[in-house]
């Protein structure tokens, strides 16, 4: 007799364990099939397109495809002296093909990004190459313009050989790769993006702090007042939450303008003189004030839902044990609200860092954020690969906070209203 316990069988004679596993598997599949439609929908229409952004941001196939023979023959060239005849020959044939397809203009634009001065010499080459004779292309091309005899320009062409590039990401943090392949900062006066990143972080950070400072007392009040009063006051928090973002921004535009009510009030109480009214719009102040008010409900709601669960007897116990109300608050109540603080701050920070509409309308030039820059490149300069790169840099920051939020709060604990 074996020492193993006898297996329990179901009425069909299948071991119970196997039968249970089968049932479990069936349930799993059932649950998954319910989620599948939405999951597939989101993956196809949302997750893949974000991946597509990634491809676009590193894609540099354009030149690679325009000069296939040249790059092939360049593989053997060490880049020290002028390339050998075969490279010039390959370049000549690639170039003739481009002229046929009328794409040589695109090539000159692309190469000009890498090194200034390509535009004119490519135009000149196009004109002169019509009368080229067969053979000895090196001499003929070099005679078109002295820059064609400059090794720097051939190195610049070689740098465009890889089909992928991280240049756009470097550009996003105001850096670039120079001719020798070193990564260096752009000149001080042209560092626009770093300022924007810092400003975005700064505004998001301070908006979060302001929201926290304002939300904490009112969340506490809402949580401690009797239900019939707190329900009424809750409406004050929820009404802005449900109101259109554009409506709220519009009301701030009216309030903050130079002839607006806030300025009227300041003049009335004598804080500023009538002909010296404050400029509160189209600058950082505008962004701060409007974003704080708009994001405040997102801080109040998580704080409120945590404070609601704290029993008032804890504070009383703290006081009865000899703590002053302030000590009792600081040692007992405040630590218990930390989960709510974490949830609210992370949520507000995530939302603030990607804000677009409000800064665009009330922020002016000094109050715009990284999102506005992305929109600018999508709509105005049409540099979509750069917009994608900036978007993904922003996204990676947001995902880190999202991950943190998930760890600390849990996604399923997001509360709405």
């Amino acid at each position: 007799m074996s020492s193993k316990t006898k297996q329990i069988l179901t009425t069909d004679g299948i071991p119970l364990e196997v039968s249970l596993k089968k049932a479990e598997k069936k349930n799993k599949i059932k649950a998954f099939l319910l989620v599948a439609p939405l999951l597939l929908f989101i993956i196809i229409t949302y997750v893949f397109p974000i991946g597509d952004m990634l491809m676009r941001s590193v894609d540099d196939k354009m030149v690679t495809e325009m000069l296939p023979k040249t790059f092939k023959s360049m593989e053997k060239w060490d880049g020290q002296d002028l390339p050998p005849e075969e490279v010039f020959e390959a370049f000549y044939f690639d170039f003739q093909k481009l002229i046929e397809d009328e794409r040589e203009g695109k090539l000159s634009t692309q190469l000009n990004y890498t090194k200034n001065g390509f535009k004119s010499i490519i135009k000149k080459l196009r004109r002169k190459s019509k009368s080229f004779e067969e053979g000895n292309y090196k001499e003929q091309i070099m005679s078109v313009h002295r820059r064609w005899a400059d090794v720097e320009y051939w190195r610049a062409i070689k740098r465009r050989a890889p089909a992928y590039t991280y240049q756009k990401y470097l550009k996003g943090i105001d850096m670039y790769e120079n001719e020798k392949g070193e990564i260096i900062n752009v000149p001080e006066d042209r560092r626009v993006h770093r300022i924007l990143w810092m400003r975005t972080l700064e505004i998001a950070f301070f908006v979060t702090v302001f929201c926290f400072l304002m939300a904490y007392p009112i969340a506490h009040l809402l949580a401690t007042l009797p239900m019939k009063y707190s329900n009424l006051l809750m409406i004050c928090v929820l009404l802005p939450f449900w109101t259109s973002l554009l409506v709220r921004t519009a009301s701030w535009m009216i309030l903050l303008q130079q002839q607006g009510i806030v300025n009227d009030f300041f003049v009335m109480i004598g804080l500023v003189s009538d002909d010296n009214r404050l400029e509160m719009m189209f600058n950082k102040t505008g962004s701060y004030v409007a974003m704080t008010q708009i994001l405040l409900p997102f801080m109040v709601l998580p704080l409120y839902s945590v404070m609601k669960t704290i029993s008032p007897s804890l504070m009383r116990a703290g006081k009865s044990l000899g703590g002053t109300p302030f000590v009792a608050f600081w040692k007992v109540y405040f630590p218990l609200t930390i989960p709510g603080i974490g949830a609210g701050c992370l949520l507000v920070f995530i939302l603030a860092i990607g804000y677009y509409i409000t800064p665009a309308l009330v922020g002016g030039a000094s109050g715009t954020l990284i999102s506005n820059q992305i929109a600018f490149h999508m709509k105005s300069t049409l540099d979509w690969s750069f917009a994608s790169a900036m978007g993904l840099m922003l996204l990676s920051g947001v995902l880190v906070i999202y991950w943190l939020y998930n760890k600390l709060v849990g996604i399923d604990n997001i509360k709405l209203g």
Partner: protein, 284 residues
Amino acid sequence: MALPKYTEPHYRIWHYVYLTICSAVFFFLVAPLFVIFPLSFNAEEFLVFSDGMKRLDPDAFSLRWYQDMIYGTKNPWGLAAKNSFIIAIFATIGSVILGTVAALGLSSRHMPYKGLIMAVLISPMIVPLIISGVAIFFFMAKVGLAATHAGIVLAHIILGTPFVVITVTATLSGFDHSVTRAAASLGSDPVNTFMKITLPLILPGVISGGLFAFVTSFDEVVVVLFLAGLENTTIPIQMWTGLREQLSPTILAVATCLIILSTLILVTAELLRRRSERLRGINR
């Protein structure tokens, strides 16, 4: 919040300071919304309170901006409102169906990789709208749905489903699964059980998720800015253009209408929430 009689003076003072701070914050939250009402009835073209308005002179008030909103010849608000409602209604229907079904699966004990899938499904709510806008634009352009109603509806379904998933899973968290087993044991098939038992019980959550989806779509401007052509203009797009170019009182008339609409939605959502809490036995 009455203070007990024995409260020491400096705590008494602190208490009143605290109440003052709270009032100030509430004022900061709500007051901006109320500036819009009176100014939308301004008889003049400026966005400041005229002297007549300050004296409450009836001549200083008029409905001309509301007339302009409805009958104005150059005004695109009619088309915009029509588009907004059509898009929001279809987006809501889509979000509610997809989101509710997914929430049913996610609430099952047997769901594998629940955390990861939930994170993916909620992500459109967390990812900055500008990034969603760019990504969705690339997709819609590829499949040829840019500048169509269908494309915008699909985009808004993406943005709306997280709200439905969250509210419905929250409602289902207090759901007693033995009632569906009871229905099954009485011979009901799953679809019938869902329609007759589960749905009526989770309906408040479904509707409030639907309201969120509706408001999200109705108020969404960033993604639509990328997707919309002239034909697909919506109320938020018109407001955006108006606010960028020049702030006209007609916009305030529209804004007033939007505030009234959001108040109605808020009241509905609150009533539903309370009903749902009652049904789930969370009485306080």
